[in-house]
């Protein structure tokens, strides 16, 4: 997806966005879905709220963003480690994959209070939550990429007397890169929503904190301002990863 050039592939999402925007602002959507403004605020109200609160929003966005990125990095790294060891020490590590997948099944409703008990109400809690949530995705995807190699390729590597290290890098890792990038894209979404939802529980700062607080007061414009900031952060990160993907695996079929 070419970002900055306004060409055919950009026109479509852009025009759809503009259409939706117009329908939203003029409350056609409200009429169609029979919603009130106090359930879904209109863009102009959201914009005023952003202008009014941009200082707090900016500060909180940085706070939450840090939590998300740090958790994302830690989780993805750990997930990779588990995947790699599952490939090379299969007897031990297959169990590890199951454990990691099980961790993923701990709902955030339980994870957040547990992390809060250990790390208090600061960033540590959310980084912990995000790390746990992103580990499994990376582990599963990376493992699939590293292990789903066609045997004929492995035989080819043997035939060329490749060392374990060369097999790893040139075959397994390269083959796994598309899977890893898929995991990164999913993890990016998870890390943002994870840090935001984590803040719903016990936090005194952050976009999630502000969102959960304001929505209970039915202050929809400010709540949606938070959502806008979160979405902006998410889309930004997604395109960063897309860019990286294009750099690292330009040959992959799915890039065409």
């Amino acid at each position: 997806m070419r970002l900055l050039r306004l060409n055919k592939s950009n026109m479509l999402p852009l025009s759809m966005g503009i259409l939706v925007f117009i329908l939203w602002q003029t409350k056609v959507i409200h009429a169609l879905l029979r919603l009130e403004v106090y359930q879904l605020p209109i863009p102009s109200a959201i914009w005023s709220s952003i202008l009014e609160n941009h200082k707090t929003l900016g500060e909180f966005a940085k706070y939450t963003g840090t939590e998300a990125i740090l958790g994302f990095l830690i989780g993805s790294l750990l997930g990779m480690l588990v995947a790699v060891s599952a490939v090379y020490v299969p007897k031990m590590a297959k169990g590890g994959l199951t454990v990691v997948a099980a961790l993923n099944a701990v709902p955030i409703v339980a994870l957040a209070p547990i992390m809060n008990n250990w790390f208090g109400d600061g960033m540590g809690s959310r980084i912990g939550v995000v790390a746990v949530l992103t580990m499994a995705t990376m582990a599963i995807n990376a493992y699939k990429g590293l292990s789903s190699i066609d045997p004929s390729y492995l035989e080819l590597m043997h035939a060329s007397a490749a060392t374990k290290g060369q097999t790893f890098i040139k075959l397994r890792v390269m083959h796994a890169l598309p899977h890893i990038f898929t995991a990164l894209k999913i993890n990016m979404a998870t890390s943002i929503s994870g840090s935001i939802v984590g803040e719903f529980f016990i936090s005194s700062k952050g976009i999630g904190y502000l969102l959960s607080d304001q929505i209970k007061l039915s202050n929809m414009p400010l709540s949606w301002a938070c959502i806008v900031y979160a979405a902006a952060g998410g889309i930004l990160l997604y395109y960063v990863i897309e860019l990286l993907e294009r750099l690292f695996i330009p040959w992959h079929v799915s890039r065409h």
Binding site: R34, E36, V37, Y38, Q39, P113, N116, N117, G120, D121, F200, F201, I202, S203, S204, Y209, D213, I215, K216, L217, S218, N219, M220
Partner: protein
């Protein structure tokens, strides 16, 4: 005979919308949904008792009690028709009204505040002055404002001396010393602390009600249009509810039994609910308050609540006291007793 409600929302064909029939004794019962403020517990004994003992049925109402939870916004559930009436604190109601929700209070269940500020004696925080700069826990949303008012009255500067930290719905932060001063209700958290092994002698307790600047809590509210179009039903449901509360007051044991049938199994004990009921009833009928007047909306306290809300920025516009509550509903409910 189904009467259409005024608000367009209620004309949905969805079976859960609050279409109501004004019931004669032989007509089908009017379906009515009550949205609680939190999970089922003794704090809501009156409603469960009224349902169990048939008080709602006597008034021609088929009541469904919907539990609340951490992410339920009662005001929105009532506004979007998922419930017909709900229970909320007036502080929360006022800010929702301020943000456009067309709601009003029709009965005031708890007359005094349950809010306590507690600290461990070991922390040395035994006076308001010592709270300066310390981490004071509050459930936030709308609930930190009476604490601000209370502390300012006691000499602290809200902008400089008071550091309010979000408290979850558990007391874990208090146990972990992540908070210096914690919020607690007289009917729940205080006893959660005692049940954890901390003794009353180990605690400093400050009652927000003592400052005279408490904000009103549990009240029954509904959409203004709904009340206008279903006035009879509103009066009936309030009457049955108050009867339920009175019964609970006179038959606490039985009331706790009813509550225990409705709590989430495994998460609480009967003793805890017994204490909760006892303490909560003290709020419904404080010392010296006439039993036949429970549910009345105390207009002076309502005004205080609204003033604090405006002063400390919970609401942006002054509350229109003529539309925020309708005291005639309770008055009519009490007439036919």
């Amino acid at each position: 005979m189904v009467s259409a409600c005024g608000s367009p929302k209620a004309q949905e064909s969805s079976s859960t919308a609050g279409t109501a029939t004004v019931a004669a004794t032989t007509s089908p019962l009017a379906k009515l949904k009550i949205q609680l403020k939190w999970v089922p517990q003794a704090q809501f004994a009156g409603y469960y008792v009224a349902k169990e003992k048939g008080f709602y049925k006597d008034e021609g109402i088929d009541a469904t009690i919907i539990p609340g939870g951490p992410d339920v916004i009662m005001e929105q559930q009532v506004s979007n028709g998922a419930a017909d009436i709900g229970i909320t604190g007036i502080d929360s109601l006022l800010v929702n009204i301020d943000n456009g929700l067309p709601l009003e209070s029709i009965a005031q269940i708890s007359q005094t505040s349950s809010n306590l500020l507690i600290s461990k004696k070991s922390s040395g925080i035994d006076s308001f002055a010592k709270m300066k700069g310390k981490k004071i826990g509050s459930w936030m949303g709308s609930q930190q404002f009476q604490i601000l008012a209370f502390l300012e009255k006691e000499g602290l500067n809200p902008k400089q001396d008071i550091s309010i930290v979000k408290q979850g719905f558990t007391m874990d932060q208090f146990f972990n010393n992540q908070l210096d001063v914690a919020s607690a209700t007289t009917y729940n958290e205080y006893h959660v602390v005692l049940e954890s092994g901390i003794k009353p002698e180990d605690l400093n307790v400050f009652r927000v009600e003592d400052g005279g600047l408490a904000m009103l809590e549990d009240a029954i509210f509904a959409k203004r249009d709904w009340v206008k179009n279903h006035r009879d039903l509103a009066v009936k449901v309030v009457r049955a509810t108050l009867k339920g509360w009175k019964y609970a007051m006179d038959h606490q044991d039985e009331a706790v039994d009813i509550v225990m049938n409705n709590v989430q199994k495994g998460s609480t004990t009967r003793e805890h609910q017994v204490t909760m009921l006892k303490e909560f009833l003290k709020l419904v009928k404080p010392d010296g308050f006439p039993a036949d007047k429970i549910g009345t909306i105390p207009e002076d306290k309502f005004k205080t609540t609204a003033d604090i809300a405006l002063k400390y920025g919970l609401i942006k516009k002054p509350t229109d006291l003529t539309t925020a509550y309708d005291k005639t509903i309770v008055e009519d409910a009490m007439k036919s007793q």
